[in-house]
């Protein structure tokens, strides 16, 4: 996993609540057996006017000029600002894969779907929870300020505006923070406890032999 330490990036505001993972990456693109290549179909149903199917050259697609990511000022954004319950629904990890492949490295919202938040952390995509009021302030600032960018400092757990006038603190699980800062392979960490797992398993399966 790519480490996450410090990020300064343009912010794109997606002003909708309850954005589900079906919208983030529609089902017809889940047929790939790879982890990359989903970026061109991120938010496919909102981003394009024509119907998206796998294998179609993105250069031939008709963009929806009204969709926020298609506006020139938000091109190249690395931080997605969203409303409550972002990423609810399906467990598809293709959603964070698509967000990352598009270029996002951090998400900011008042709340996230549990599975999306977990999947994002495992891929070096940082979901940041701020209060509804803080997110609201950021939406206003983002829309009012062309080129609006934020700096995310994971070590210090802060989000700051470019001029330093606004600073927000966020919480993150200590273990997840450690893994992100160092780009650690979680499976490798768990396997350091393989003996404990084996001992637990032997006892557990002896108590409930029908589990095998």
């Amino acid at each position: 996993m790519q480490p996450f330490r410090l990020l300064t990036g343009v912010v794109a505001p997606l002003d909708r609540a309850n954005v589900d993972t079906d919208v983030i990456i529609p089902k017809q693109f889940l047929k790939s057996i790879n982890r990359s290549g989903f970026g061109p179909n991120l938010f496919d149903g909102w981003r394009y006017l024509d119907r998206g199917e796998p294998g179609v050259d993105p250069a031939t697609r008709r963009e929806n000029p009204d969709f926020v990511l298609n506006q020139a000022r938000y091109r190249g954004a690395q931080i997605l600002l969203a409303r409550r319950n972002f990423g609810c629904g399906s467990s598809r990890e293709h959603a964070p894969w698509a967000l990352l492949d598009y270029g996002f490295r951090a998400l900011i919202a008042p709340s996230f779907g549990d599975i999306l938040a977990s999947n994002s952390l495992k891929n070096g995509l940082l979901p940041i929870v701020l209060t509804e009021a803080e997110v609201d302030r950021l939406f206003h600032a983002c829309v009012a300020t062309p080129g609006f960018s934020l700096t995310v400092d994971l070590e210090r757990q802060t989000v700051a505006t470019a001029d330093g006038s606004q600073l927000f603190a966020f919480d993150i699980d200590a273990f997840r923070k450690h893994c992100l800062l160092n780009g650690l392979d979680e499976i490798g960490l768990t396997l350091q406890h393989a003996d404990e797992i084996r001992a637990f398993e032997a006892r557990h399966l002896a108590e409930q032999p029908w589990l095998v």
Binding site: D15, R16, A17, N18, D20, D22, V23, P26, K27, Q28, L30, K31, S32, I33, N34, R35, G45, R51, G52, P54, G55, R83, R84, N85, C88, G89, S90, S91, R92, E93, P96, S111, G113, D114, I115, S118, N119, K122, N123, D173, A174, F175, D185, E186, I187, L189, T190, L191, H193, A194, E196, I197, F200, E201, H204, Q208, P209, W210, L211, V212
Partner: protein, 469 residues
Amino acid sequence: MPRLTLYDKLWNSHVVRAEPDGTTLLYIDRHLVHEVTSPQAFEGLKLAGRKPWRMDSVIATADHNTPTQHWDRGIEDPTSRVQVDALDRNMRQYPAKAYFPFRDQRQGIVHVIGPENGATLPGMTVVCGDSHTSTHGAFGCLAFGIGTSEVEHVLATQCLVSKKSKSMRVSVEGTLPFGCLAKDVVLAVIGRIGIGGGTGHAIEYAGSTIRGLSMEGRMTVCNMSIEAGARAGMVAVDDKTIAYLEGRAFAPKGERWPRAVAYWRTLVSDPDAPFDRTVALDAASIAPQVTWGTSPEMVTTIEGRVPDPDRERDPLVREGIERALAYMGLRPNTAISDIRVDKVFIGSCTNSRIEDLRVVASVVKGRRKAAGVKQVLVVPGSGLVKAQAEREGLDRIFTSAGFEWREPGCSMCLGMNDDRLDPGERCASTSNRNFEGRQGTGGRTHLVSPAMAAAAAIEGHFVDVRRLG
């Protein structure tokens, strides 16, 4: 003695190690695998030079991509075939406890085949790369959906790194009114607590209404926990749980059976066990539910009307309603019973079991689908459900009504195969998600019970199944 919830008991019995901050290595008993969320996990395992920890914890099937007709032709969509072939290959390389491939008689939707084969047992931790894994919680186990990285983690270590959720008890008390089913209960719960209401929580469903449901009804309720934001939903073990499991293929046999049953009986919340949040519903207040929007919380009753966004004060909610109505092609204040449907889908891990099909048959027997309805798909949850339905003659009732009787799979719940809505088509669906584009790009989904879907197929519009007679 501490008073423990069912969730506490299930969690505590699977802790391999816990850090002071609560980060826990949780042991996983059952790993359900399907073709969409597993290929990258197996690939990752191989690239890292790792081997699966315990493949006899794995039950696998192909369900999302499989066609529901013309099985003699195989899987014609090449991209779908690539995923199913990948699962076939992975199962050859790492044989599972059971693999039910495409066209196997026991193939079906992963959340249908686990319970029907007795592969889902009380007291287990059950995971799957699928958010509707909560279904299995109906059996007094801790079951939740995971992403592909976690699929790989469970394959490699038989564990997950996790933190305990908060607990929520949803109590439903009283007799469910005539014409109302488990689907109406869970849609009413989601309508009450909202699509994010269960986020960060594990839900236990309790109360006399839940106890009164069959195991299949409880599965329907637990299935949609994720539609309220909760990764896990569960119901305590009782006589029905045990009666359902006895004799199933992978259920314990011989002297192990009474031992298992004695343990399973302890899998109930202690009296007065504390929950972080409790919600109570009166069953008598529940009426047949119909969703009108693009989120399962956008739900009302068959007697209701499409909401008027002008009456909503919260601007974010108002804009959500406006966008949903624009997408759904609905005007504010339209009576739900005036909404006409183009297609009807009966199936999915929510409502494709034998009791669901019996309910549909009881509504449609001797009737025909309305002329204006283009297609009614009936897709059984598994090959075993299909065979049972055919033994009971349900398939002939469906085909006589002009419905299409298909092969098992996820089908039009998410349309990864050829079963899809076309843009603008409106569907009464027994599935679990009415998100934009869920059943096909531009498709419009209304979530309902199997009885309400059947009634809509007959009348061509939503109709109160209680008045159909």
